[in-house]
């Protein structure tokens, strides 16, 4: 019977942002006989706790970004040994800063968190034309498209992307965020959701999956 303390220790290591400790802890957990899925579940719970602390104002963006980086490293170790994926494993997300907007910090943060949660993220980068976003979504059979805009011209480009998507037979869900996006803007342009911050965006997407 594996000792559960090793798993609980992993969660603490994540909350302490100890990347080396997490990597070592994963190896220890394997030695103790835990499966990759059990380890992932524990780390995912750790990520949820990071998110809860972020929402409560105990953590800030640096903690959110760093924990996502650590989770990405952890997933690189866990993925080859996973017999079956978690709910999010293999789900495809296309991310972009829309045409006219070259900001990508917010998008990168969301991308990191999504990858840390096991999603297969296709980041198209910045200043991406609506046609390019739609083409990529079709190509990878995306489950969700995430668009982030810091300047309002980006919202117009988001609107054009959704108009193009609506002409397709299969339309992935679209979530928007960034300083120029608002719940009103999401409603106006026909997006499926608005996220006020990176963490909420990930939670909404997980809810869809």
């Amino acid at each position: 019977m594996p000792d559960g303390e090793v798993l609980k220790g992993l969660r603490k290591l994540l909350l302490d942002f100890d990347e080396e400790g997490v990597e070592k802890g994963i190896q220890d957990a394997f030695k103790e006989g835990f499966s990759a899925q059990q380890i992932l579940n524990e780390l995912s719970r750790g990520m949820e706790m990071v998110g809860e602390k972020f929402e409560k104002g105990d953590f800030y963006l640096p903690e959110l970004v760093l924990s996502a980086e650590i989770m990405k490293s952890a997933l690189n170790i866990l993925r080859p040994r996973m017999v079956s994926g978690g709910a999010t494993i293999g789900k495809k997300i296309v991310l972009a800063s829309p045409k006219g907007d070259v900001h990508d910090i917010g998008k990168n943060i969301v991308g990191g968190l999504l990858e840390g949660n096991g999603f297969d993220v296709h980041d198209l980068g910045i200043d991406v034309a609506p046609e390019e976003i739609v083409k990529k979504a079709e190509e990878v059979n995306a489950d969700v498209i995430g668009l982030s805009a810091l300047i309002s011209g980006g919202v117009s480009s988001m609107a054009e992307t959704i108009i193009l998507l609506n002409e397709k037979k299969v339309r992935p869900k679209v979530i928007i965020g960034g300083a120029a996006a608002t719940p009103e803007a999401a409603k106006t342009i026909g997006a499926d959701a608005y996220a006020k911050d990176a963490w909420q965006g990930v939670e909404i997407i997980k809810g869809w999956i």
Binding site: F17, G57, Y60, L61, P62, E63, L64, V65, L66, E69, G100, V102, H103, D104, I105, N108, I109, G112, I126, D127, I151, S152, G153, V155, S156, A179, A180, T182, E184, A185, T188, K196, D197
Partner: protein, 366 residues
């Protein structure tokens, strides 16, 4: 009819001094997209000469009828500081030009590695364009209208994000000394700009600092102070300039920031923000700091300005006037910069509302 700049100057001066002006002053700041739409010029055309930039800016701001005069290419150390950095470091192609909206440096393109931070060259603001053009345009319009130009800095977080990109957030935890070394370079660059500004436009009477680190959805207050606030305080103490704080984030640390700056010996003259959107917060702010000027207070560009009708905008302005104007030291100013997607009729509605409800003594607003 040409704008009466003398009346605007008197109105603003009365408001700044805590006296009663003829009516509540009002301001809008355009971003390059709105400026391009009204002027009909591309951004590069605007910057093609200082005379052209000055004339187009004056035309547009006179058309809007506000009490402020800015430039169509925002003269704060934001996007165009990115261009200057890109040129000074031989990477002008990292700057993405756009015809009808704000051109921007690709975030993280100049300081991706520690070596790049170490080797980062700061621009000479008297020589590296577009600053000479922008500074000369400020001087031209100041001379023409009598409206004093303003020194607009960005000490330091927005520049950190622009230069380092999202890695900056990891550096906060893992490599704060590296990040501080970048902040020091940004600080040096802003000093260089201050000197160039003083030479071209004249010695400023106040500094408006655009600050973004001081938001609870971004950094802890302690980290915001470490990577932004301490530099603001250093600058203000070294120059003796009073500070007008611009913070257009969603969760500003207003009280903590003002109190800490005052503890450090900085004269906080005013605050410029639109969040929180709860007007009662701003009434509380006014009571807590009766001597601090407020340019705002709760009109967001992403709310009524973008999604409402002119009537909605007028009503929101009226509510702001009812709550804030009786105390004085107040300017109506939706934030942040007016972007694309805001109907011109909604911009004009701000002025209409101020004319309708904002005249002292107040009778129409209630």
């Amino acid at each position: 009819m040409k704008h009466d700049w003398k009346a605007s100057i008197e109105r603003l001066n009365a408001s700044y001094a805590g006296e009663t002006p003829d009516r509540v002053p009002c301001m809008l700041f355009l971003d390059e997209s709105a400026g391009s739409r009204i002027s009909g010029l591309t951004v590069r055309e605007m910057l093609s000469s200082s005379k052209r930039l000055a004339a187009a800016s004056l035309d547009v701001y006179e058309y809007l009828g506000m009490d402020n005069l800015w430039l169509l290419t925002g003269p704060y150390l934001g996007p165009f500081e990115g261009l200057a950095y890109a040129k000074a470091n031989g990477k002008a192609d990292a700057f993405v030009w756009q015809d009808h909206s704000t051109p921007l440096l690709r975030e993280g393109a100049l300081c991706e590695t520690e070596k790049e931070i170490e080797n980062l060259q700061i621009p000479d603001h008297t020589k590296v364009e577009p600053w000479p053009t922008i500074l000369e345009a400020l001087a031209i319009n100041q001379e023409k209208t009598g409206m004093p130009a303003a020194l607009n800095l960005s000490l330091t977080w927005s520049n950190v994000q622009m230069l380092r990109g999202s890695k900056a957030y990891i550096d906060v935890k893992r490599n704060p000394d590296l990040l501080l070394s970048l902040c020091e370079k940004i600080y040096a660059s802003q000093w260089d700009y201050y000197k160039a500004y003083s030479k071209a436009v004249g010695t400023p009477g106040i500094v408006l600092n655009a600050q973004y680190g001081f938001n609870a959805h971004m950094l802890s207050f302690e980290d915001a102070w470490k990577f932004e606030g301490q530099f603001m305080a250093r600058f203000c103490k070294a120059t003796g300039l009073p500070l007008y704080i611009h913070n257009c984030g969603f969760k500003p640390y207003w009280f903590e920031t003002v109190d800490k700056l005052r503890q450090e010996g900085v004269t906080v003259f005013g605050v410029n923000g639109s969040f929180p959107q709860d007007l009662d917060f701003w009434v509380g702010f006014r009571k807590r700091y009766p001597d601090i000027h407020i340019m705002g207070a709760a009109i967001s560009v992403n709310a009524e300005m973008e999604h409402g009708t002119p009537e909605d905008v007028m009503e929101r302005v009226r509510q702001n006037i009812v709550k804030m104007a009786p105390y004085g030291r107040f300017i109506i100013c939706p934030l942040c910069c007016m972007p694309w997607r805001i109907p011109l009729s909604n911009m004009r509605a701000v002025l209409e509302a101020v004319e309708e409800y904002g005249k002292y003594p107040m009778t129409n607003a209630t």
